[in-house]
Subunit: 302 residues, 4 copies
């Protein structure tokens, strides 16, 4: 089977290599020459333009998008005119499921099938396999099974056709919301242990301990144990946490569905908060306290 | 009527003056000479020691404690041996209601009555009157009515006998929990308006506007309007918010009673958070993100 | 000055009457005959169709929409073809500010000015006046000042031109977010007092007490006191709380602006939660507890 | 090595069997005859009274308490007079770490050593091994290593001496706080998927899928997958979630340490909320909405 991989960043390059090793013929494209070269060095064929990529693959083509969610529409705009009836586009990135549904409609107008594939596994996926949540129509997804089998941890585990177009990215959105909540729960717990000076706890020891037999054992904990073993005080790491969009969609979805998701929501907000350096909220609180109670406020260094 | 006022800090001194102006004979004491002098300058008699204070007042005495909650027990320890059967001690500060119940028992062993009085009104109470939530037995509280009438905004409004000993401080604890939640709600709203650069909103204008006819009008909003009129950008004010204990008790009580109080709880936690400068929680989150996704972290300036 | 009032529901009818009493000539329209009749009975002229309404008012016309946010676009669609260059449409309802911006553009294409007016005050506005947050261009808003003066609590207080089109509804959205947070804070506090059987607190008494001199006094508390005086145990009232959209927009806006608003957000989610009768979240938690710990679960009545 | 196991409930009986299979001589006691009989049937010696148990074991004795946290003090009160200098008591249950510190002092007065052991693993521990967080002094803990090795998943993994007395139960308290947060995160995510009727998601399929390669894979997810496979709609399970104390202590600790733990806290409060049937908070909110806006309320069935 042949596949065009569009986007050879961290995720796309790793996936190309896992597919290549599984015997899939991968033809890669990325606008950045350096990204193409790195993948070439791993023995994978690349094309310098989208047009070349499309021409290099016999129809019906399978094209996997692994690009930032912000450029999916532009990529699709450049790609669609080059495609033929019966080709398939798979979006394996972190797109909002409603956009995936719209994109499927747009592709459908040209006779191109669209599949959304929520992909989890991070940088570990290349060796351990990726968890793939696939949305699309039955026939199209069935035809892509060899790709999913190659990418998943095992041929028949770690990938599934979860529903129609949109369902894959919907599941990935929820998955990431859960991930935010789990991470926040762990991080709060470790902060409690770190602050409890009385016990002089060795966080790396406790994390390693919990990996074996405890109710909170998980892959995230495994990674936390690695991090704390290497840097037990998290020295040099700024308290600044990015987010990548999915939890925002999850919060909006929860409100649309009228399903409370307080922990997922709060986990996102804690990340927003980590990035504030001069919170107006807190300054307003300090000011109001002074107004009614004459309480002292702290002045900023001016 | 005579009253001994023990503690002449911001609250105690103001209350002494309001009582004095209402024709109550106030005898003040504070361990700090400066505090005594300021009150003396307002025409109020003071004593240099607790013993002198007690001797200066004819039995049965009324002694009002307006001291930090952390020194109530020590003050009571010094005071009780000086008192006689039939004297009354009123704790007007921010004590935990369970401690007030224990203190009432301790006083009772010596024939001294104890009344807990939750006091709200801040620095504005001297002119506007204080809201007083009074706990104690019926007869004792009735005998103190002239004091409460003098301190309250109006003779028959703004003070009430809400229940047995402890009930006064319990109500004040809940009151302050609500206060934290209200303040946080306002502060979040103002932060949203401040960040919305597109509209160039004048926060002082909006606050003033809301004071008239809106559903969110309140005394806290009045104070917020004052603050924003004087300093519309809250320049020079650090995002650092203290708390004074009552909300902590309220959170513990909510859990004991098995009544969810998520907004009150979160409002307290947001204050704790405002005081963190290098959150371990956030550093742990940043580290975990890097571990699984290879995401960049920010380094601290070293 | 003349004004067409479109929408004679609870809010529109009350506003029409307040304007009428202030000497503004109001011409009312509502698709429901009963709504028109009630307003007619108060001495206000009404029209049976939008077309009649528009014809009854000399150009340049002022038309105030007071309709559910879900029908604003349809109403505007019917209205715009009837209007002339120089007419003004004011949306006084609870619209999302981004839709107001889009509607202003749509009106502008026909030479019709658009003003968004966030309106607070509820059913009390008719007697006490409404708080009005007005967005629009300077000249248009200035020309409407007599209307705003008539509706506001006082001629020069309780209404303000807060910014360009959209700014009025933006401020109202934030206002309502704050309102949700304040209400939740009060409600949590009252629930704590209600559960504390030991003190047999009289909630109506405490609420009334807090209205005088306390830090938490507010108009919402005044209303809470009314409610608890009439029904101290809230007998017969179901624990089911609606929401009306603004807080949802506020949560989405907070995330877009990357400003944490945890208390506003949680207050909305608590309302969503109040409407759930068989929470899947809780059933999932109960199931997981049983799976790892063998803990008993409760069965539903089957 | 010999061990007295006091408390033969679900946890104690399982641990006794795991120890017994590892060649430790276990002597069991439980006040309930039925509990003793079940353990006897598994080939483990039991005593009918605490006194018999103590006499059946040669000094220096090792006695493991596996009793509800509410009866630890009473059990210790009965046990201590029977013990001799050099004996060791291990509390393997879910006690508050400050009580463990006090109990260690109480035991120390009689020359009895005390070790606190936070135990995780639930009903699966018998086969898979328990995660053990051990607090105590170095020599005492070292002497108990054969017991911990037998109980842990592997001889050198899954148990650790984490610090002085109290540190074991402190870590377990934090562990359970994290567990509550993780469970809530999963449960919220599943509720979102369950409500999204459009995709007709098969929750059992998605859960099973996520177990392989995803970032959220964990042991709790494994158990969730088991539960959903057996009962995909969670039919018959009431939305009622118990809590067992540790998270309450964790919330109190977070506030004492002034470390925000919003997700852990909220996860506990969501459980409290699941147990409310006629929330006063929600009824108060509904009432206030009606007061200011004339909004309809729902009546209870009377």
């Amino acid at each position: 089977m042949q596949l065009g991989m569009i986007g050879l960043g961290r995720m796309g390059a790793n996936m190309a290599q896992r597919l290549h090793r599984a015997g899939i013929h991968v033809q890669g494209f990325d606008p950045a020459a350096q990204a193409r070269e790195q993948v070439s060095a791993a023995g994978i064929a690349t094309s310098d333009t989208l047009q070349d990529l499309v021409h290099a693959i016999p129809a019906p083509r399978r094209l996997w998008l692994m690009v930032p969610s912000t450029v999916v529409d532009a990529t699709l705009g450049a790609l669609l005119p080059l495609l033929s009836n019966g080709d398939v586009v798979i979006d394996g990135g972190n797109s909002w499921y409603k956009q995936s549904q719209a994109r499927a409609a747009r592709c459908g107008e040209r006779g191109v099938a669209f599949v959304d594939c929520g992909t989890s596994g991070g940088i570990w996926g290349r060796e351990e396999g990726y968890c793939l949540m696939v949305g699309g129509d039955v026939g199209t997804v069935a035809g892509l099974a060899p790709l999913f089998r190659a990418l998943a941890p095992a041929m028949d585990r770690g990938w599934a056709h979860v529903g129609p177009v949109g369902a894959g990215h919907f599941c990935k959105m929820v998955h990431n919301g859960i991930e935010y909540g789990m991470m926040q729960a762990y991080a709060e717990g470790f902060a409690l242990m770190e602050k409890k000076a009385e016990f002089e706890l060795d966080l790396a020891q406790v994390t390693e301990l919990w990996r074996h037999g405890s109710v909170v054992r998980s892959w995230l904990l495994d990674l936390g144990a690695d991090a704390l073993r290497d840097n037990p005080t998290l020295a040099g790491i700024a308290p600044y946490v990015e987010d990548s969009g999915e939890a925002r969609w999850a919060v909006a979805e929860a409100i649309d569905l009228e399903v409370p998701a307080p922990v997922i929501t709060l986990s996102l907000q804690e990340r927003l908060r980590s990035r504030q350096r001069n919170s107006f909220t807190d300054r307003m609180l300090a000011t109001m306290r002074r107004q009614f109670g004459g309480h002292a406020i702290r002045k900023t260094d001016a």
